[in-house]
């Protein structure tokens, strides 16, 4: 993440990952979620926080999930129902519970199909937030497959030249295994920045970079500016302006909408804002395409070549998607997860309200 998003050291409280995991599981169970599902949901949130993906960890998302279950917007006992299937495909309804709980199940189904036929694709509709979608893709990489996880949900991003939001930030995640290098893990919104990054910047009171958002009339704001009130801006697609190819970010977001919502027998959020999130999960079995060890050796060689690439002036190193997260993972397993003290206060309050043990801090 860019420097501006880091929690200032003075506001930081370190929490051991196992303590955070236990508390998150307890919170989910207190809301009526079955133990297995609670464990799955906690695993996705911890995955994000352990890798420095603060935007999708407990700080931003858990309080939203808690509110949605309490208000009945999410169903803690939502079922996983296969609507139709073929040897390589399935369409699934998620029963209105969290995507971080149902998405991994859908990916496991895609992996089973890929093992039989070479490729497996599952669409998943009617779920809540899907969290760090890289998690779902990584499940396939764990099985020597290439994993793809696409999400559509929300109405925040304006189409190129548009003055109103029509699309979600619609992230794309792709994971692929390697031999000895950190695995390739691409996980990014098709907007310039993830929506949660705006929330983070607001909480940390830092300005947004030019090109991240447009004013309410759709004109891109090209200089640094603080986040305006919610109804006075729209988010921009990757590319920011037409000249810098925002039609590409917009097009990718629309492709996500088609593969997740339209293919999944759901309605895009621009037509029904209450239609929940939708996902498209794909697994491609590497052994169906060639020798797995050769694939991994080529991955290592390619990724090493990228790491050895000379940098542009002012930069320390060239990296590839997945490496910074992997480095953060080992640090945080050792030192704990840094949370903003305001997040700790929230945990104290919610644990008290739900009558569960408080979060243990280091």
């Amino acid at each position: 993440m860019l420097e501006r998003f880091h929690v200032p050291a003075a506001d930081e409280v370190r929490v051991p990952d196992q303590a955070l995991r236990a508390t998150v599981e307890n919170i989910f169970m207190a809301l009526g979620i079955a133990a297995d599902d609670a464990r799955q949901g906690a695993d996705v949130l911890l995955y994000a926080d352990l890798r420095g993906v603060e935007s999708h960890g407990v700080s931003n998302m858990l309080r939203v999930y808690v509110n949605q279950y309490r208000e009945g917007k999410l169903n803690p006992r939502g079922e996983f129902t296969v609507l139709q299937e073929r040897p390589s495909t399935a369409a699934v309804d998620g029963g209105g519970t969290l995507g971080i709980i149902q998405g991994p199940k859908a990916m496991r189904l895609a992996i089973e199909k890929a093992r039989q036929t070479g490729a497996g694709i599952v669409t998943l509709r009617n779920v809540g937030h899907t969290g760090a979608v890289g998690y779902h893709a990584m499940l396939a990489a764990d099985q020597d497959m290439i994993g793809v996880s696409l999400t559509a949900g929300g109405v925040l991003v304006a189409p190129t030249f548009g003055a109103a939001p029509r699309l979600g930030t619609n992230p794309i995640a792709v994971a692929a295994p390697t031999g000895t290098k950190p695995r390739f893990l691409y996980d990014a919104a098709t907007s310039v920045v993830a929506a949660n990054k705006l929330v983070l910047a607001d909480r940390l009171n830092v300005p947004l970079h030019g090109g991240w958002i447009a004013g309410w009339n759709g004109a891109p704001i090209m200089e640094d500016a603080y986040l305006p009130p919610r109804d006075q801006y729209v988010m921009l697609p990757l590319g920011s302006t037409r000249e810098m190819s925002s039609h590409k970010g917009y097009g990718l977001a629309l492709v996500n909408e088609i593969l997740c919502s339209v293919l999944g027998s759901a309605v895009p959020a621009m037509l029904d804002p209450d239609s929940g999130s939708k996902q498209f999960l794909a697994a491609y079995d590497i052994s169906a395409f060639g020798d797995v060890d050769r694939f991994k050796a080529s991955m290592d060689e390619m990724l090493e070549t990228l790491l050895q690439t000379p940098t542009a002036p002012g930069h320390e190193r060239v990296i590839y998607p997945g490496i910074a997260e992997e480095e953060e993972l080992s640090r945080r397993l050792r030192d704990g997860i840094p949370l903003h003290r305001e997040v700790i206060d929230w945990f104290t309050q919610v644990c008290d309200e739900l009558g569960i043990p408080p979060l243990e801090v280091a």
């Binding site: 495909t89 548009g162 003055a163 810098m244 039609h247 088609i258 491609y284 070549t305 998607p321």
Partner: protein, 362 residues
């Protein structure tokens, strides 16, 4: 395309599409391509020019292909070799054939498999240029499937923060059918701008926009600049700078490398400068996931909503990928395809050399 790329009126000569098709077929046959393949190759090039995708039509590309056939770099009579096959997957060696002739054949095989399994993919290695890859994706859309087409080739694009190019422009195309509306056809390089656009800008003598290229040191050039000499610049990934998401364009280009290159058992250009281009094709059968009529109806509703979105100041309208191309197709089918007179001169020269009929013009 942006206004700056249009051929100036005064330099335009219009050619009837059928005349162009006939001449391109004859040129292919004169360099040793069998008749059926020549027809396929001409269809892809005419497809690009009819839709206004000048970067990938005859102007930029045909002369390159002719040279590559003449020098033996391309094989006019390749045999597609099945390396490995599974129910949903194919790996094919293209035997140095021209990609824009061979990829449609492979996409037709993929479509057959998708009809059985629900989804199918192919990774292809050892091919020449694939032309406008939206063509291949569109073949699946014509069969009520979502079509996907990706190409890895070249090594002219920088990774984020790097000073040396490692990636091709690695375009991604996705096609999906609609009911009444123009079909969705996304087809875009994962660089800030397609390489051929830089060639066009040079021919037309127009400047490059900020964020399109970096200096040879890797620093993004953030003001307008005349097209630098070859060797004095590198292309930037989509997103242009780290703050604006260059790591996303880079990551997507790397994803294409994984699916097209590594899955096909080939190596990226960064590791072998002589390697041919690599491709990934996929088809998702709509009927395996949902009701086809419902899919098309939802597409129409969504695309209509986008078209009706209020435009930002200074913009005329909001469109989606595929609309402008469909409009240009209608106009050019009626009025002929406009070419720069320099392109017509090349045609006259090459048809004289190959001893075939001169290109007819309006």
């Amino acid at each position: 395309m942006l206004e700056r790329f249009h051929v100036p009126e005064a330099d335009q000569i219009r050619v009837p599409p059928e005349a162009l098709r006939a001449t391109v077929e004859r040129i292919f046959m004169a360099v040793g391509v069998p008749e059926e393949d020549a027809r396929q190759g001409a269809d892809v090039l005419v497809y690009a020019d009819l839709r206004g995708v000048e970067t990938h039509g005859v102007s930029n590309m045909l002369r390159v292909y002719v040279q590559q056939y003449r020098t033996g770099q391309l094989n006019p009579t390749p045999e597609l070799h099945y390396v490995i096959e599974s129910p949903s997957g194919l790996v094919i060696d293209g035997d140095r054939g021209l990609g824009l002739i061979q990829c449609p054949k492979v996409m037709r095989l993929v479509i057959e498999k998708a009809r059985e399994q629900g989804v199918a993919t192919a990774s292809i290695r050892n091919l020449g240029h694939t032309g406008p890859i939206g063509y291949h994706a569109m073949l699946a859309a014509q069969q009520d499937m979502v079509g996907l087409s990706m190409t890895a080739s070249g090594s002219q694009v920088l990774p984020a923060l790097a000073a040396e190019p490692r990636m091709g422009t690695n375009p991604i195309a996705v096609a999906a059918p609609a009911g009444e509306r123009p079909w969705l056809l996304f087809d875009a390089a994962m660089s800030a701008i397609a390489s051929n656009k830089i060639r066009i800008a040079r021919r037309l003598g127009v400047p490059l926009h900020p964020g399109w290229v970096a200096s040879w040191t890797g620093t993004p050039i953030m003001e307008e600049t005349p097209v630098p000499e070859d060797g004095d610049f590198h292309q930037l990934p989509l997103g242009s700078t780290r703050e604006l998401g260059a790591h996303k364009g880079f990551g997507l280009a790397l994803m294409v490398e994984v699916l097209a290159t590594l899955l096909s058992g080939s190596v990226p250009r960064m590791l072998d400068p002589e390697v041919g281009s690599r491709h990934f094709l996929a088809a998702f059968d709509l009927a395996a996931f949902t009701d086809v009529e419902r899919f098309k109806q939802t597409m129409d509703d969504m695309l209509g909503m986008l078209l009706e979105t209020k435009p930002a100041p200074g913009a005329e309208r909001v469109i989606y990928p595929g609309v402008a191309e469909a409009e240009t197709l209608a106009e050019r089918s009626k009025n002929g395809i406009p070419y720069h007179r320099e392109v017509i001169e090349w045609f006259d020269q090459v048809t004289a050399e190959l001893n075939i009929e001169r290109l007819e013009r309006l």
